[in-house]
Amino acid sequence: MAPEMSEKTQSSRATRLARWLVSGPPLLFLAVFFLLPSAIMVLASFRYPGEFGGLAPLFSTVPGVLHGLTFETYQFFFSDIIYVQVFLKSFLVALATTLICLLLAYPLALLIARSPKKSRDLMVLLVILPFASNFLVRVYAWMILLGPQAALSQAINAVLALFGLTPVHLLFSPFAVLVGMVYVHLPFMVLPLYTNLEKHDPMLLDAAQDCGANAWQRFWRITFPLSMPGILSGAALVFIPVLGMFAIPDILGGTGDMLIGNLIKEQFLGTRDWPFGSTLSIMLTLAVLAVAWLAARLGRGGKYYA
């Protein structure tokens, strides 16, 4: 009995070692490049800004130099309604982008999922093809497409002129920001939706039809509820990056359109107020976590996949 036992413990020790060997490096990576920076950010949000950017020293004996910890940045954040407004606006943009992406991506994902197996891979490839070129280049391309000289603007303004309305500017507007956001994030909605829809058992649709459901009822009662996990992961993959996005509003939104992402970027690169930038980042992280928690609660209906 005894040698058997020791063999057993030895093998379990070996599996434990193997487990650490496999999960160790990624854990270490996360600790160094995620946990540590996050801790630095939290600490930074309680410090004073340095005179020429960066952070003021934690300890200083020189009179007149700000040092130590403070709640000032948090007080500042909550004392001015404008920051909450920027947050709200960013949320609205992220929400609108997510919804538009969902409306565009769903039919596309459904089309791919119900295509013959041979053509599916090609269609998925086409969806992710834009990633092959640089993100900034693609967003700049929209500057040209939406510009006043572009065919799109000219056509719209020609129609508006027919009705005696004033011409509109497509570029440097919330509309342009939304177009850019949707364009960039659409594949992130299509892919999880497709992955989900492709797994649906076509027999269920036959069964529903057999039970008297027409095409519309088959979609709303079977396909749609079963795709909820796909919708939620797609929504998370779009909503969260859009919330922090600054490049697209910078390029397509012009000067008037500031979102949280721009505000944070501005703190670090413009006004050089690192503590306040950190505070904004923490608020954003908390907001994202709140949304993720909410989505997880809503998504609990997915238990029937167990």
């Binding site: 027999m203 069964a207 039809q209 057999d210 039970c211 008297g212 027409n214 509820p225 029937y304």
Partner: protein, 362 residues
Amino acid sequence: MAMLEIKNVTRRFGDFSAVENVSLSIESGEFFTLLGPSGCGKTTILRMLAGFDLPDAGQILLDGKDMVDTPPEKRPVRTVFQNYALFPHMTVAQNVAFPLKMARIPAAVQRKQLQEALEQVHLTDKAAAYPHELSGGQKQRVALARGLVSRPRLLLLDEPLGALDAKLREEMQVDLINLQRDVGITFVFVTHAQVEALALSHRIAVMRAGKVEQVDEPSRLYSAPCNRFVADFIGHINLLDASVLQAAHGHHVHLDIAGLGEVLAPPHVGLASGGKGYFAIRPEQVRIGVHEEVRELKNHFSATVQQFLYRGDVTVYKVRLDNGMVLEALLPNAAPGRARLFEVGDTVSVGWRHDAGVFLVA
């Protein structure tokens, strides 16, 4: 006029004829089975009845009305699918009530019919469970309840017992017979399991390669198969090459079995002397014993025991006749100590009554 008329229906997939000029009529309240090996066209017929497939030629009439222009969702026909196809995101109650909901039946009536259907399949206590929480047999019963709840004219069952283990399958067979009798709905059952078909059906259509070979009651199908395929497909049977020596001589025909000699068989219409074919006899009709026991039978031969298979309820003996043919005989083990009457190598007599067996034209 029959409730369901399938008239000269043909369905082709490219060059392959899945169903070839099939005609069947099924009466109201009948438990009708389509039986055949896989690829014989039985499932294609079922899909055409449900409306998921359409005939290339011929007609399907339900209560005298041609169904060709009626899509599946508008037909008074429900299907119990092979793998149940329960909706995973709905509870048992929601699954069963789904057809009622689609038909926009008033909520109070829905509740009553749902309750009835759940009671019929003994699942009232599982109403709030999700399909993944159920056993195979329970899923099967949910699928049945969903099929029956809206009182369709016709219930189609596509190998519904195929995924269950043997014991459960037998229980479900009894349940199905009772259920069909209680609800009085016409069942069209598709299976490749002949035992199941014999046990459940009022009538069976045996199919092969898109054609119907024989339509009959189970007992007729078993005792009087119309050709070699049906004889071989339903149960076990001994097939011996034979030719007709003398047709219709009184109460029996005289057959010549190659290398064995003359055999008396029950009369058979349309037999001509000299006709070639098979003499088919079931193992349980073949008696095996010591010479005195069997010699009183009109047809008897000596043979050697080659092999025996003890199956519990019966023992199957394989014996070699003097002409080299191997015959199966079956002895019930009703009395104690009868499990092994003969040993391999024993010389025995085999025989059968002159009114047993059937001659099949080649």
